[in-house]
């Protein structure tokens, strides 16, 4: 069987941030209690001229820039998001044009709450492995919405991560992938609704934890691996607490989960959440390291992946505009400006 894996990757996080204290001040809530619950201190906010298409393009351009291959070989582009700028008109075609890779390719927008990015990765892995294409581009991007005063308003951030998937010059080889999917009424947004609704505490045990743990366990059982085989593990990050609890439940240490836990600084980037953590791990991982990545999308499902980092990773690092670059670019804004940027003020 031919090998398949990640050949390059790119990140993007908007520079604007709003602190938990700033939101809590408006609603006269206790910021310390919210921070203790979420372990997030600020969230990223897209600028007024940013949306899922612009963030997807920026992350994809970073994936292409650091890589030495030919982007014209891209045979598929999938953009996973729950906040595509158009209801009808694909984000993926905008990305294709902005990368100058129109027109002999297949493309589509995907939606599966916070796991549409990893769904696109699976599709690219399948197409490359079956030799239908030589190179695929999977992107997870979101400009997530949280209703004012809803608990989500404190954590719903924005960002994008892009992965070039191929079979040559692989930097992280795919060992296996395993998915769990059920019909779960934990989080939803009806057609035409501006803000999502959720089942509050119901989003935890039967939803996030059940799917994340079952997918991770299922993959490790299938591959015959154990937690100690992995240097890094990344889970979906609706807050910083959930992935740490999931890691503990599976038997991973704090050290194994730490590097991928980027939501503390930028909130939950929904479709980009777990894969931005994965990108940050790839920025630091050594050849031979094994990485477990498990996404979670409400509704609900989890995709779990096992990767081994190869020597080729050194050919695309260091790169200036990596995840850390964007995490370090920070301009804190007040709630008034946040309300204007998010379209709350019209």
């Amino acid at each position: 069987m031919n090998k398949v894996g990640i050949v390059s990757y790119g990140s993007y996080v908007p520079r604007y941030r709003i602190k938990i204290e700033e939101i809590a001040k408006v609603w006269e809530e206790d910021p310390d209690e919210i921070k203790a619950q979420s372990q997030i201190h600020s969230k990223s906010v897209p600028g007024p001229d940013e949306d899922v298409a612009t963030m997807a393009v920026e992350s994809a351009r970073n994936a292409i820039s650091r890589w030495k291959g030919k982007e014209n070989d891209i045979g598929a582009i999938y953009v996973g998001s729950e906040s595509h700028p158009y209801a009808v008109k694909p984000t993926a075609t905008i990305v294709a044009a902005a990368l100058d890779v129109e027109k002999t390719l297949t493309a589509a927008d995907l939606e599966f709450a916070c796991k549409a990015g990893t769904a696109g990765m699976q599709m690219c892995f399948g197409l490359v492995k079956s030799k239908m294409i030589s190179l695929g581009l999977a992107i997870g991007a979101d400009s997530s919405q949280g209703r004012p005063r809803d608990p989500l308003e404190y954590t719903a951030g924005a960002g994008s991560a892009a992965f070039l998937i191929g079979s040559e010059n692989i930097i992280a080889e795919l060992e296996g992938t395993y998915s769990v999917t059920t019909d779960m009424p934990d989080f939803w947004r009806r057609e035409g609704a501006v803000y999502p609704s959720h089942g509050v505490r119901f989003t935890g045990q039967p939803a996030y934890f059940k799917h994340t743990i079952d997918a991770s366990k299922g993959l490790m059982e299938e591959l015959g691996t154990k937690t100690s085989d992995y240097q890094h593990v990344i889970f979906h990050q609706p807050n910083a607490k959930f992935p740490q609890v999931a890691a503990r439940m599976l038997g991973f240490s704090k050290e194994q989960v730490e590097l991928g836990l980027i939501c503390k600084q930028m909130g939950n980037a929904y479709s980009a959440s777990s894969i931005l953590g994965f990108a940050n791990v790839l920025n630091h991982a050594n050849p031979g390291d094994r990485i477990l990545l498990t996404s979670y999308g409400s509704g609900a499902g989890s995709d779990s992946f096992s990767f081994t980092v190869t020597e080729s990773i050194n050919s695309i690092r260091p790169y200036k505009y990596d995840t850390q670059y964007y995490l370090n670019q920070i301009e804190y804004i007040e709630y008034g400006k946040y309300a204007r940027f998010k379209g709350i003020l019209r």
Binding site: R15, G47, P48, D49, E50, D51, A53, T54, V57, E58, R61, P85, Y86, I94, A97, A98, D100, Q329, E331
Partner: protein, 129 residues
């Protein structure tokens, strides 16, 4: 802006593609069928450099309806690393911190939205490095 115009300008706005004259070697932006310096039709597509320096800038406070929600914003003339001069908006910056001579790089942003139901126009802007 009408759909055909948005479609026609796509490569210029998304990719900053101009021309290079094969006779006088002048690089120009935006794309034209003829070299604006020597008139030659012997021109080919040329992708501009993506980094440069701010030569001059101005803060815009009064503009068209579709851009009013973005004011105040900053418009600059940028000299790219390949010598081509281009006009563009500077984003991701505090207006009072931008300086002539400052280094910038091209980024992909929304140029304008036609209300809540019309088309969204995308293209290049510049961010400080």
């Amino acid at each position: 802006m009408e759909p055909p115009k948005i479609w026609r300008e796509k490569r210029g706005k998304y990719l900053a593609i101009g021309i290079e004259c094969s006779d006088c070697m002048t690089k120009q932006f935006p794309f034209t069928e003829n070299c604006t310096k020597c008139g030659s039709e012997n021109v080919k597509e040329y992708k501009l450099a993506t980094t440069g320096k701010i030569l001059h800038f101005s803060i815009v406070t009064q503009t068209t309806d579709e851009m009013m929600s973005s004011t105040p914003y900053l418009i600059a003339i940028i000299e790219l690393d390949d010598g081509v001069k281009i006009t563009g908006q500077i984003v991701d910056c505090n207006l009072n911190e931008v300086k002539e001579g400052g280094d910038v790089r091209m980024v992909f942003r929304v140029l304008a939205r036609n209300g809540t139901e019309g088309l969204i126009r995308y293209g290049y802007k510049f961010a400080p490095i």
